[in-house]
C-alpha cells in the first residue's frame, strides 16, 4: 500500500527585496540632497566660523594667526557676563511684556465682542511691518530733541525738559523692549487666540454652573487648556529674542555706553565695525552654546507634547 504523500504546498515565492529599498533607506535617500545642501551652506560655514574663533583674523586683511583660546578668554575675562545679563534682560522683557498684552487681547477677542474680526486685523498691523521700519518709527518717537513722545509728555505737563530715552542707560533698554513689544505682541495674540478657541465652551458653562467666577474659570479651565500653546509661544519668542538684532541695532546700536549691547549686536560690532572676525566668531560660538541649551528645552517640551 502506498500512501500518497499529501500534496506539498509550494513555498510562497521569496519576496524580492534586492532591488527595493527599506523605508529607512528610502527616507535617508530623500533627505540626502537636503542634507548635502545643509552641509554645504550651513554646517561647513558654521564649523569654519567656529574654527576661526581660534585665530586672530582681521576681516580686511589676508592671513591669520593661531591664538588658541585667547579670543574666548577675551570675552570670558571681559564683557561676557555683562552682555549675557543685558541679553537676558532684553529677552525676558521682550518676551513677557508682549505675552501679557497678547494674552489679554486674545482673551478679549475670544469673548466674541462686536468688531472682534476687525480688531484682530488691526492688531496684526504692527506685525506685518518690517522690523527695521518699526525700529526707525520708534526711533523718531523716542528722539530726545524732536521726538513725539517728549512733545506729548511736555504738553501734558509730565516732564519739563526733553528726556533722552535712547541716550540714557536706564531708559534705553526700556525703549528697546517697548519697541520690540509693539512688533511682537500681535503674533502672540494670534497664537493664543487660536489656543483659546480650542477650549470647549461646555467646560466654561459647567464651571459657571458650579459657581466658578471668571478668575477661577481662567485658572481652572482656560489656563490648563492653553498652557501648552502658551509655553511653546513663550519659548519660541524667548529663543528669537535671544538672537534678536535689528531693533536694538537701529535704536541704540548697543549704546549708550554699551548698556543695550546683546550678543547679536556685540558680534556684529566686533565683526563689521571692529573687523575682528576671530573675536566675533568666538563670541558667536559661546552664544550658540547658550542657544543650543534653549533649543534642547524647546525640543524636550515639544517631544513631551507629542508623547501626551
Amino acid at each position: 500500500m502506498s500512501t500518497a504523500a499529501p500534496p506539498q504546498k509550494a513555498p510562497p515565492p521569496r519576496e524580492r527585496t534586492g532591488g527595493r529599498l527599506s523605508n529607512g533607506a528610502f527616507a535617508l535617500l530623500l533627505t540626502a540632497p537636503g542634507l548635502a545642501l545643509f552641509a554645504a551652506i550651513i554646517f561647513y560655514p558654521l564649523l569654519s566660523a567656529l574654527f576661526t574663533g581660534f585665530f586672530r583674523q582681521d576681516l580686511r586683511l589676508a592671513g591669520r594667526e593661531f591664538v588658541g583660546l585667547d579670543n574666548f578668554a577675551y570675552w570670558l575675562d571681559g564683557d561676557f557676563l555683562t552682555i549675557l545679563e543685558q541679553t537676558l534682560v532684553f529677552t525676558v522683557g521682550a518676551t513677557l511684556v508682549p505675552f501679557v498684552i497678547g494674552f489679554a487681547l486674545a482673551l478679549a477677542l475670544n469673548t466674541g465682542l462686536k468688531g472682534s474680526g476687525f480688531l484682530r486685523g488691526l492688531f496684526l498691523f504692527p506685525w506685518v511691518i518690517p522690523g527695521v521700519v518699526v525700529s526707525f518709527l520708534w526711533m523718531w518717537i523716542f528722539n530726545a530733541n524732536y521726538g513725539v513722545l517728549n512733545g506729548v509728555l511736555m504738553k501734558a505737563g509730565f516732564i519739563e525738559e526733553s528726556v533722552a530715552w535712547l541716550g540714557q542707560p536706564g531708559t534705553a533698554m526700556l525703549a528697546v523692549i517697548v519697541t520690540k513689544t509693539w512688533a511682537s505682541f500681535p503674533w502672540m495674540m494670534v497664537m493664543l487666540l487660536a489656543g483659546l478657541q480650542t477650549v470647549p465652551r461646555e467646560l466654561h458653562e459647567a464651571a459657571s454652573m458650579d459657581g466658578a467666577g471668571s478668575i477661577r474659570r481662567f485658572f481652572a479651565v482656560t489656563w490648563p487648556q492653553v498652557r501648552g500653546v502658551a509655553s511653546i509661544v513663550l519659548l519660541l519668542e524667548f529663543i528669537w529674542n535671544f538672537q534678536h538684532f535689528d531693533t536694538i541695532y537701529v535704536l541704540t546700536g548697543g549704546g549708550p555706553a554699551g548698556t543695550t549691547e546683546t550678543f547679536a549686536t556685540a558680534v556684529y560690532q566686533t565683526a563689521f565695525k571692529g573687523f575682528d572676525i576671530g573675536r566675533a566668531t568666538a563670541l558667536g560660538g559661546l552664544w550658540m552654546l547658550l542657544l543650543l541649551l534653549l533649543v534642547a528645552v524647546y525640543l524636550r517640551i515639544t517631544e513631551r507634547k507629542g508623547d501626551a
Binding site: 527585496t17 532591488g19 527595493r20 529599498l21 527599506s22 523605508n23 533607506a25 528610502f26 535617500l29 530623500l30 540626502a32 540632497p33 548635502a36 545642501l37 552641509a39 554645504a40 551652506i41 561647513y44 586672530r56 582681521d58 576681516l59 580686511r60 586683511l61 589676508a62 592671513g63 528722539n143 530726545a144 530733541n145 524732536y146 525738559e161 526733553s162 533722552a164 535712547l166 541716550g167 540714557q168 542707560p169 546700536g253 549704546g255 549708550p256 555706553a257 554699551g258 548698556t259 563689521f272 565695525k273 571692529g274 573687523f275
Partner: protein, 433 residues
Amino acid sequence: MTTSGISRRGALRMFGIGALGAVGAGVLGACAPSGAGSPSNGGDPKSKDFDFTSWSLNEEAAKPSIEKIIAAWEKAEKSTIRAVSYPYNEYLSQLTLKLGGGETTGAVHLDIAWLAAMAQMGKLVDLGSVAGKGGYTDVALKSGTYDGKHYGLPWNTGSIGVIANSQLLEKAGIKEHPTTVEEFESALRELKGLGGGVVPYAAATKVAQLKDIFPWMQTFGCAMLDGGKVTIGDDASVDAVTWYKKLHDEKLIAADVDRFDARALFGQGKAAFYDDAIIGKGVTSAQSKDKTLADAMQPMERPVLKAGDTPQALLWGGVIAIVKGKGQDAATEFALHTTTDRATTSEYFAARALPPSTTAGLAAPEVAKDTFTTEWTRKITSTATGSPFWQFAQNAQIEEAVAKQVQAVLVGKSKPKDAMKQAGEEAAALIKR
C-alpha cells in the same frame, strides 16, 4: 521588512539629483567672493563701464549734483557707470566687506580718515602717475597719500569746525564769537537762558560722531599720540572730558546727538553752535524751513584754553580711489576729470558749497568770492590738522573705542580719569594689532 517600492535605478537617479545639489552648492561656494587675499577684484581693467561708490549718493542734498557729473561722463564717453551707495555711518564697514569680497570695483569715494584702512587691503591702485597732473594743492594731495603712495585723488579738502547761528547769538545778546573756553561756556549759558528748548551747542554725544571731541582734547593740550605713544589718558584729555561732561550735565549740550541730529536742531533754529564740515552750510540750510538761515551761518574759530593758543580743527575731505580690476583705467580718468575739470568743480561748488582741491578750482571767481568759504578757510582750515590716528588701519576702531569711553562718562557709567585711561589702553592695543 517593509520596502519602499523604489528600485535601485530610481534610487540612483535620486542620488544623482542629490549629488548634483551638493555639487551646485559647492559651485556656489566656489563662486563666492574672492576674499581679502586677492589683490585685484577681477574683470577687464580696460572696460569703459565701471562702478562709482559714494555715501553722498545717499544724501538728498548731494545726489542730484553727483548724478549730473555721472550722466555727463556717460554721455561723453558712451559708457555706463553703476552708482552704488551706503549711508555715511555704515559706509566704512559696508565698503570693507564689499571690497574684501571682490564686489566693489571702479571708483570709490573715501573720507580721508579711511584711506589707510582701505589702502592696507591692497586693492587700491597707486595713482602716483596721474596725481601729479591734477594741479592739486599740497594739502589736498597729501590727504590722498598713504605710506608714500597716492591712493586717492582729492575731491574736496576742508576741515571740521564750529558753525554758529548769528541770529540766535544776537538774540542772546552775544555780539562776538567767544574765543576762549571760558567765554564759550558763558555764551552757552546765555543761550540756554533763551529757553524754548534751545540746545546751546549741539555737540556730538552719540558714538558715531563723538570723535568730534578730539579737537577739544587738543584744545586742552592732549596730543593724543606722541612719538608713537598714545597720550589719551593724560591730564589734558581728562580735563577735556570732564569739561564736556559738565556741559552735558548743565544741558548746554544735549544727549543722543549725532551729526544728523545736530544739523536738524540747527536747521530748526534750536541750536546756536554745532560741529560740521564746510559742507554743513549747504546741507543744513537746504533742509531748514528758515530761508534766512544760510545767511545766519558763520564759521567760528574753535575757542582756545587761553588767549594766544592755536585754535584746533580737524582736517576733513574726500578723495576718489580706484579699485584694481574692472574698469580701473576709465574710472581713473573719471576721478581725474571729476576732481580737476574746472567747469565740473565750479558747478559742484555752486551746488554743494564744497571747495575744490585744485589751485585753479580754488582761484575760480565763484569760489574765491564766496564769503563763507573764504572765512572758513581763514578761521578754521588754516590751523586744521589731520588726526594722528589716520595713519593706522585701525583708525575707525580707535575713534570708536575713545568715543565709547567718552559716552560712558557722559551717561555717568564711568569717571573721566578711568574712562580716558581705558580709552588710551584700548587705542594702544589697537595700534599694536
